[in-house]
């Protein structure tokens, strides 16, 4: 799962029947430090996220699982709204835990 921010929404009248009634949100992917990274993408919304909210989303086939037994054709879905993030140190400078004893 990845962090992102809701930056907009998309309307589409002509779409697959299994997408009917789904909200389509524009998401800007973020780093753990909340800096923008990568291209914006369209996500389905399983959580009722609103404009500007910090969220996390899931990619791949699993993006349709929140809507089971319906299987909308989605490869990205907002599955949570972030309350807070705690980082001990900037992710870029952190040593992965499993490597600590080996150096």
């Amino acid at each position: 799962m990845y962090l992102g921010r809701v930056v907009g929404c998309v309307w589409a009248t002509v779409k697959n029947a299994n997408l009917t009634g789904q909200r389509l949100l524009l998401i800007q992917p973020l780093t753990p430090e909340l800096l923008s990274t990568g291209k914006r993408l369209i996500c389905l919304d399983a959580m009722g996220a609103g404009a500007g909210e910090l969220i996390y989303y899931v990619r791949g086939k699993e993006a349709s699982f929140p809507f089971l037994p319906a299987e909308p054709a989605a490869d990205a879905t907002v599955v949570g709204i972030v309350d807070s993030i705690h980082l001990k140190a900037p992710a870029a400078t952190r040593t992965p835990t499993h490597r600590k004893g080996k150096r």
Partner: protein, 88 residues
């Protein structure tokens, strides 16, 4: 899912039998403000999109969940035509 614009079509006679009757379009990813982004994708059209239209394309195994694409060898499908977009 990504935003893209239809920029062309693909015609193929020799192909997997499960792709017969499917419309193949060349789409180019765009940013929400309409600028072209690098790269292109050959995508199966499930919504009868037309030339220059802005569309929503789904990638990966999720493309097989698009209308009529069950158990077909596709990794990208057009699943919607964009009416409008709002950037907050």
């Amino acid at each position: 899912m990504i935003l893209a614009r239809v920029v062309g079509t693909v015609v193929a006679t020799r192909k997997d039998p499960r792709l017969e009757g499917k419309k193949l379009l060349i789409i180019k990813p765009i940013s929400p403000d309409g600028k072209d982004e690098p790269g292109y994708i050959v995508s199966v059209d499930t919504v009868s999109a037309g030339y220059r239209e802005r569309v929503i394309a789904v990638a990966g195994s999720s493309a097989r969940m698009a209308d009529g694409c069950k158990d077909t060898p596709v990794d990208s499908a057009i699943v919607g035509i964009v009416d409008d977009m709002r950037l907050d």
